[in-house]
Subunit: 503 residues, 2 copies
């Protein structure tokens, strides 16, 4: 006799399978965290193997036909809550997408990714794009193939964009980046015509331990829960989460550059607050996961820029900072400090760009990726294409491939469609922050007294608790009353930089 | 058509399966290491769940019938190397033992272990054995059942002893502990009649950072490879290995007690050198694993006691130590220091015992375990039984259950048969060290100049590289020319302590 399971039984089957998969994936995340923080040099090879083994296991668990059957059965049940219904729908979507990939493609992509990464490393070492090009070409071919596997409406690049930001397409991005060009460029020109603020005092000796302690203090004040997370050092700062009760950030400390640690700390802190704000009751399920990369980045950028590079933030924090680093800052006024940390200057490196020119770095990558996928841009001479773009949009000359087309790891990993989420994050952040300001009249005043509680609660209630329940578009409309609108970023930038530069 | 695989193909199937299992088990070890070193408080619950999930996966992989078939097929192949043959034989033995356990027993043991551990924690908090007793009783019943599942020759306790030290039985242990009583007791009495060396200077303020740095220095000098391992802090010192290229030790630092960090560091260093000395080419296979717990402990004890509490060791190290901690040691001579670190004094706590009285602590646990399993000792009033033993063998009065029968975690974990390996370790260590001294005439002289290279090479060649190829008995005979013989420990103790105490 074939006993029909109740919805509660089925859902429980589904949930326990998903938790098991999450356990394996989070174990991989622990191995990855350790790899970037504490792993001794010789341990790298077998660590790579261990991660591959667990990844294979996680993949096997998530392609298990029983899971598919359970999801299919649940889909037709009427007595699910809205959250349960959403979890089932999203898991089924993930499951079916996962099953679209032919084994041969997965194997080829895995091999090419490994080869491509090593070629990129070698190319950087030798400062020569030519070393990277053949593998990048192979990767682009595979990515084109992937667009057919995944399917798409309109432009093939949409398929890849959707992998990182569901619902986004080139129409939206073309509009957004057209706005960037038409609105942001004049502001940048106006800024360029003004004298540069002095920021030399940020590049003095700031002792390591004092910086480290200062970073911890900022995180604590933001609301980062050190009982549910920690900070460590790594070469490149990152945030990783093993569940909302164990979220880890890393930072780096450059004794000759105070900015390096400080805003990476606030940035990662913003990511971490999002992860700590996800519901542990939804552990392993879509509604317990972040909405998208763009929304994730909105949280880090909101804290880093809208809050952490704002005047109100430093009205509160600067006196203590000045005291802590009296050698460097005792003769620097709050206004001078505020201007210095908001210096706008076109540069070569995306990761070191200010919050305005940053979006030209992203736009260049977006244009190149779109072109590579549709075939209008070739990997041949991509270094020259890159350099032309940098001249055109940022008016900087790229001295060599290492400082140019080879600067990011993303393409060597096969991450095409990822870059735009960085800009989307900033634009969502500005739009969210404007909504928060409308809804909390004393927000700036709170921040000027070091009280971020209301802001964090607002982010928790409006964004964090929802997980993947809403797509980024839906979430944006729900929280701000309208779809993504570049105007909010532009208004923010205009008001802030007009003040700083006296425009 | 059924294609018969070549031996090389079969062995490769076997090896890749075992490597995969090792990857999962080592991932569990990473999660465990992180749990003891860096895990934030709230992360504990889901970490436990993650470890359980991976343990289940490792268990499933190791009970896979295909693995059994491959092992069976390999067993009849003639064209295996001696090492391959041994790997296959040991894996098959492990595999078949694993399969002996009925699922119901595994579930009951798992549940009881969890309950028993929590009861033990509660009992310690309330300082009351009565809280622990019912669960301990249940655990003992399950352990009795396990002896029948595993099967045994002679005494049922042999089945459990073999889980930790293959080939050992109560005949050997009864002989060894009879020797402990007849030979060691008179020495202890002679020592007790002499004035106690002053060791108060060890319990002064030794700054944390300086101690930590000193521990790292000792590890480095021993030959610990920091490119293939690291040291961190934890509440209880331990060694864990994820493969020979990633071996981690932990220590603790008590600012009021120099001994605490120093000898735990050398002890764990000894364990770690063993793990770093296993063959990475045998990763995942029995010949890439440690021979037994007793042999593992022989490595830690050899470094901790035979080397690290020896006069030669401090002839080299003391001048620098004295300089580093001048506040504490500038007026303490090498001889006074050497006497202080070898203070013999019966005490309540096994983990704090000196290297002589230590074995009475182990003997008491051995007698109790043997009695519990054969039924001649009852869990009822076991605290009183314990206290009587401590009075009888160590002449100390146990003030309460926490300082007595509740002091060790082992029984709450179901680890019956584990304790004897601690003593075996010391006895093997003395026997190995005597052999090393016979074979390397200038060993003491080398140590007195801070050169441990030859000793480490000797341990590598004679012990580490063999992995589980030999049982501890076989290894002992091979390395020293005879089976385990308590005489070597006694000779070592007699010579050393006669000198120190002027007996």
């Amino acid at each position: 006799m074939n006993i029909i399971k109740t919805t509660a039984e089925l859902y429980s089957d589904y949930q326990s399978k998903m938790e098991k998969i999450a356990d394996v994936r989070n174990a991989i995340a622990v191995l990855g965290w350790d790899q970037e923080t504490y792993l001794p040099g010789k341990g790298a090879a077998i660590r790579g193997q261990q991660i591959t083994t667990l990844s294979t296991i996680a993949h096997e668990l998530f392609t298990d036909a029983q899971l598919g059957d359970t999801l299919q059965a649940l889909q037709s049940r009427e007595d699910l809550t809205a959250t349960q219904k959403k979890n089932v729908a999203l898991s089924l979507e993930d499951y079916e997408k996962n099953k679209k990939y032919p084994a041969a493609f997965v194997a080829a992509l895995s091999q090419t990714t490994s080869d491509c990464y090593h070629a990129w490393m070698k190319a950087r070492k030798e400062n020569s794009y030519a070393v990277f090009e053949p593998l990048l070409e192979k990767m682009v071919q595979l990515k084109k193939e992937e667009t057919h596997i995944l399917g798409y409406t309109g432009h093939p690049y949409n398929a890849l964009l959707n992998e990182y930001e569901k619902g986004i397409n080139i129409q939206t991005l073309d509009t957004v980046f057209a706005d960037v060009k038409t609105s942001l460029s004049p502001l940048l020109q106006a800024i360029a015509a003004k004298p540069k603020p002095n920021n030399a005092f940020l590049q003095q000796h700031y002792p390591k331990d004092a910086q480290w302690q200062y970073g911890l203090k900022l995180l604590k004040e933001m609301g980062f829960d050190f009982e549910a997370g920690r900070q460590d050092l790594s070469e490149h700062p990152f945030t990783t989460s093993f569940n909302p009760h164990d979220v880890r950030v890393t930072t780096r400390v450059d004794e000759q550059d105070f900015s390096n640690m400080t805003w990476s700390c606030i940035h990662e802190g913003g990511h971490a607050l999002y992860e700590q704000g996800l519901l542990i009751s939804e552990y392993g399920l879509p509604c317990g996961e972040a909405a998208s990369l763009g929304i994730h980045e909105s949280q880090s950028r909101l804290w880093e820029n809208n809050v952490g590079r704002g005047l109100a933030y430093w009205q509160y924090n600067y006196p203590a900072l000045q005291k802590e680093f009296a050698n460097n800052l005792s003769n620097v006024s709050l206004e001078e400090f505020y201007h210095a940390i908001n210096l706008v200057q076109p540069s070569l490196q995306r990761t070191e760009a200010d919050e305005l020119t940053y979006h030209f770095h992203v736009m260049i990558r977006y244009e190149i990726e779109k072109g590579l996928i549709e075939g209008s841009v070739s990997t041949k001479d991509l270094n020259h294409t890159w350099n032309q773009y940098y001249k055109q949009y940022l008016n900087v000359d790229v001295p060599n491939d290492g400082a140019g087309v080879l600067q990011d790891i993303h393409w060597s990993h096969g991450s095409f469609g990822y870059f735009p989420t960085y800009s989307l994050g900033s634009f969502y952040a500005a739009q969210f922050y404007a909504a928060a300001q409308r809804q909390m009249k004393d927000l700036s005043q709170n921040i000027a007294t070091g009280d971020y509680h209301a802001l964090l609660q607002w982010l928790r209630n409006n964004i964090h608790v929802h997980g993947r329940f809403y797509t980024s578009n839906e979430l944006c409309e729900k929280v701000t009353g309208e779809p993504l609108n570049f105007k909010y970023f532009m208004d923010y930038a205009q008001a802030k930089y007009a003040g700083i530069y006296g425009i």
